[in-house]
């Protein structure tokens, strides 16, 4: 005959563990509050039509803080990548997209800035003497074609959204920086060996941002007025 006492004890223990598991689950649910998303910033832009294109002008000097401004004459290249979308106000499907890249490097010996400016129309190289000039060329949007006019119905409100990145880092480089994390402890008997076989892995954990700085911008709503009729 089996002694029932140890079994009753183990059932009580199991019940306690189940209760603990439930509490842990509740703690999971009560976890951290949702953080503030990086909301796009409203930036006033100027829009005008030329030929078949809608053009936009604005300034992105906020992209550079004092550290990144100082980096311009470090001798290392800096890159600005600008993506723009135009979409009807209140809708999620964009009607146009543009991708622009601007790069600069300072020649320590000749003391000049060489800029390479690329947009859908092509690439051009510019040399300037002063840092302020280089900054202006990197951060100004001056008559940039953002959409074809035939895609913009008259009198309908649209919005221009823009993501501007300073020195973005490729997905491959990001993966490489953190690759040592996924190499595991190596040589172990366990098949898995990944972090998540455990509740916790503790290490000094560096996270490289996807870019030195990122600006998320949206314009004020704009529309194409009806052409003025000739009397």
């Amino acid at each position: 005959m089996t002694d029932a006492r140890p079994l009753r004890g183990s059932h009580r223990r199991a019940a306690r563990w189940r209760a603990a598991a439930f509490v842990v689950s509740l703690l999971v649910l009560a976890g951290p509050a949702r953080g503030d998303p990086e909301k796009p910033e409203l930036l006033r832009m100027r829009f005008f039509e030329r030929g078949t294109q809608l053009l936009a002008s604005t300034s992105l000097t906020k992209l550079f803080d004092s550290a990144s401004y100082d980096q311009l004459d470090s001798g290392f290249p800096s890159t600005v990548v600008i993506r723009t979308w135009v979409y009807p106000k209140g809708e999620a499907e964009p009607i146009s997209f543009q991708l622009i890249q601007r790069r600069v490097v300072y020649n320590l010996w000749d003391e000049i800035y060489t800029l390479e400016l690329s947009d859908p129309s092509g690439t051009r190289t510019v040399k300037v003497k002063y840092k302020a000039e280089a900054l202006k060329l990197l951060s100004s949007i001056d008559g940039l074609p953002v959409a074809r006019l035939d895609k913009l119905p008259l009198l309908r409100h649209h919005v221009l959204a823009m993501v501007v990145e300073l020195n973005p880092v490729s997905q491959e480089t990001l993966a490489e920086v953190r690759r040592w994390l996924s190499n595991g402890s190596g040589g172990g008997l366990d098949r898995g060996g990944a972090f998540f076989g455990s509740f916790v892995s503790v290490f000094v954990n560096l996270k490289v941002p996807e870019a030195d700085r990122v600006l998320r911008i949206r314009s004020q709503p704009f529309y194409r007025p009806e052409p003025k009729r000739q009397p």
Partner: protein, 489 residues
């Protein structure tokens, strides 16, 4: 079960209910453009020559350890706008030894020559890789930890080890168990793409096997145990094919001393008595094997992935021709892929894994049920610490194998980024819900079937949900499956 279902439902609602951010740039097809890759292509600007590379701040790390990962060397001539100049910072960071790396440049001794100054800020390189703890009907408690030092005395060498202890309860023949492992790693041999790893492990265990009851009954009274010892040595060499892919090959030598019971049997619920195969040679036996593996990991963030994929394939062969007591071959593969969804904070992941053991493998090399069902506690450094029964959700085969020669799992996971703070010590947190199918069969189960197909399928469902948090002191995970695997049921 009701608790689990309610938790999953709540987490699901929370995850799906993440608000769409109508005021942010819409996710056009171009959303997937890797702007960083664009920035890292092409060179421009005047030519420069690297006259010298200065390194400052490396109080313990050897200068050579840093120089060998740089994508350029002293004397190289390149364009001032060469992307390698920016990439060098990340190459140094990828060592994992530094909190921050800064790069600057000054004029050299002649026109066109420059000196690059690399400033490093060293950090602690001790890593707590794993913690083992829990309680089950066969081990009232088990506890253990695995630690590594990734930059031994600044040489770039890695040493580490782990120790697990598990107490025993009422299982006849069981005893307290422990397992220990010591490792040495030599990354980037002579500054090249080769690396070496060595490991020594010792296990003093007692392996529980079922003597009675249905597979849903995991009480200690249904088990017997036999004592064994294992001593294992491993050596492997790895070659980095690219920055993200590597192949490894090596060998294993293992001594097993097992005091096996004579003619072990199990009484089935219907009263029949059947023999139990323990898959070990009695007394002393040895495993001598060779293995090879391939690993490619393109996930930008291996801790909280939202994009990229990882593929791992490993094969091992052991045979009498190598001097082994066991003739077997194994092949295991694992693949996961992540897709960012149209809403920027959401991602979907698919994981598929499988293994096949051919021949007469020792039981420790069989696929364990916890290798494919994450709702159960896995072996801790080889020790069997739990015999919890799997969740029976699909009404498939009621008697499921706990070790098998053919096994695998496929799951889908939905991830929602709760928060993402670039300038905080808590970087990001992901809420996730997932479900999948697991299956495990031994050769007898594959060959014979005495009931309807569905009733005999050795597959079932697993579910998981929880929170993963990435912080500057490591990564933490709270999940339903992980919790369930560590408590007696």
């Amino acid at each position: 079960m009701r608790t689990l279902a309610a938790t999953l439902a709540l987490l699901g609602l929370m995850a799906m209910g993440g608000p769409a951010r109508a005021d942010e740039p819409p996710p056009a097809p171009e959303h997937t453009i890797d702007t960083g890759a664009m920035a890292e292509r092409g060179e421009f600007g005047p030519a420069i020559t690297l006259e010298h590379i200065e390194i400052v701040g490396n109080h313990t790390t050897s200068r050579q350890v840093i120089l060998r990962v740089l994508p350029f060397a002293i004397g190289d001539r390149m364009a001032a706008g060469d992307p390698r100049l920016r990439k060098a910072r990340f190459k140094v960071l990828s060592l994992g030894f530094f909190r921050d790396v800064t790069m600057s440049m000054r004029r050299g001794s002649a026109h066109g020559q420059v000196v690059i100054i690399i400033g490093v800020e060293e950090r602690g390189t001790v890593v707590l890789n794993r913690l083992w703890f829990g309680s089950s009907s066969i081990a009232p408690w088990w506890v253990g930890a695995d630690l590594s030092e990734r930059n031994l005395l600044g040489t770039g060498l890695s040493i580490g080890g782990g120790l697990v202890y598990a107490s025993h309860d009422e299982v006849l023949g069981s005893r307290d168990q422990w397992a220990g492992e010591a490792r040495l790693g030599i990354p980037s041999l002579c500054g090249g793409p080769w690396s070496l790893a060595f490991a020594l492990a010792a296990v003093r265990g007692s392996e529980a096997y079922r003597k009675s009851g249905a597979s849903s009954q995991s009480d200690a009274e249904h088990y017997l145990a036999f004592p064994y010892r294992r001593t294992t040595a491993r050596a492997s060499a790895s070659y980095d094919i690219t920055a993200l892919a590597r192949v490894s090959f090596g060998g294993r030598g293992e001594l097993i001393d097992a005091e096996l019971p004579v003619a072990p049997t199990r009484v089935l619920p219907d009263g029949r008595s059947v023999p139990v195969a323990l898959h070990l040679e009695p007394g002393r036996s040895q495993v001598l094997s060779g293995f090879a593996s391939y690993d490619r990991d393109s996930r930008a963030d291996p801790l909280l992935p939202h994009s990229g994929s990882r593929l791992t394939i490993a094969a091992e062969v052991s045979g009498v021709f190598l001097g082994s007591s066991y003739d077997f071959a194994s092949l295991v593969a694992r693949y996961e892929r992540w897709w960012p969804l149209r809403l920027p904070r959401h991602a979907l992941g698919v994981r598929v894994s499988g293994g096949l053991i051919l021949g007469d493998a020792p039981r420790f090399d069989w696929i364990h049920i916890a290798d494919v069902n994450r709702m159960l506690a896995p072996r801790a450094q080889g020790l069997l610490v739990s015999t919890n029964a799997p969740l029976q959700a699909l009404g498939t085969a009621p008697e499921k194998a706990t070790e098998g020669e053919l096994g695998g799992a496929a799951s889908v996971e939905y991830v929602y980024r709760l928060f993402d703070r670039k300038h905080s010590r808590i970087y990001a947190g992901d809420l996730f819900v997932g479900a999948g199918l697991w299956g495990l069969a031994d050769s007898a189960g594959v060959r014979t079937r005495d009931r309807a197909l569905w009733d005999s399928l050795p597959i079932d469902l697993f579910l998981d949900a929880g929170l993963r948090i990435d912080t500057d002191i490591g990564v933490f995970e709270l999940t339903v499956a992980n919790t369930l695997g560590r408590v007696p049921r």
